[in-house]
Amino acid sequence: MNLNIFKYWFSIITFIIGFVLAFLLIHYFNVNLEKGVLTNESNNIIDIKIRLGEIITWFFWITLYFGTPFFLKRFVDDEREVKKMIIEEVNLAIKQSDLIAGEIYNLIDKAIEEKEKKSILTQFEILERYVSYVNEQIPKIHKSWAKTELENRYFKYKDIITSPITSPIFIIDQQFYSRQLVDLKNFQQYLKDAKITVMRS
């Protein structure tokens, strides 16, 4: 059932129950709090003595009975959505880092032009935002998540590329490509671990 429709009907039913209870208490009974009993209009104590505490207890259990599944469902749905969003961002980060790897591969043994440098830096900015989001969100659902590990692996990967790439004399050779690939795989491996951590939490 759609959560909003469920919420809508739950509110209406709660309102009707509350309204009926209040109507009965006000118009049919006089609640005598001092004596702790219910009386009718002629102030005669009704033969079955129902204490106000019992009514409240019943009301409490009815609310709990209907309310608990509603709140549990909402809680589970919220957490599922958060997990889905984090996994989505992890996938985007992996995809984005693959995109960077592709650009780097295309530049092997070529003079890197200014627009290509800027493009790589832009790709890293996008990747960094995914990583930043993932690293900020995971601790909210998995308390023992080591934020620094993902940061360190990302910075190492970013550093190996963006540190030399701005130099006008730098050329990406096969050796450099292989070296950065190791750091890329280390970084991606931790992203995959993050995904499993989120799925299992």
Partner: protein, 118 residues
Amino acid sequence: MEIKDKILIAKDFTDMPVGRDKLEGDFNGELFLIKYLFPKFLKAVNDKYILQVDFTGIYGYPSSFISGSFGNLSLYLGKVMGQLEATNLILKHLSLKSDDNPLRSTQTINEIKNPKIK
């Protein structure tokens, strides 16, 4: 101590910083260090206040820019007063802000703590 001075990199310098020094581009880390960071930081230390450096709004920056500016500030001061004291002094008088990407501040703090000699 309170923040009394600010550098908004995207507005005061550029929204797309490039490399370490002038060989690597016009808006490089070394230029940022000499023109903005170092003089303002010295004033902050001298007048006992915090200088805020705001990264918000920059789009794409290489590690070499951070190394050429913040890393070099840490290295130069480290040579004068010892690396640990220099790191503590910088972190005491510098506040880093990056609303759109908190990792920029983290990377910069890492560079101040462990400046790379290039």
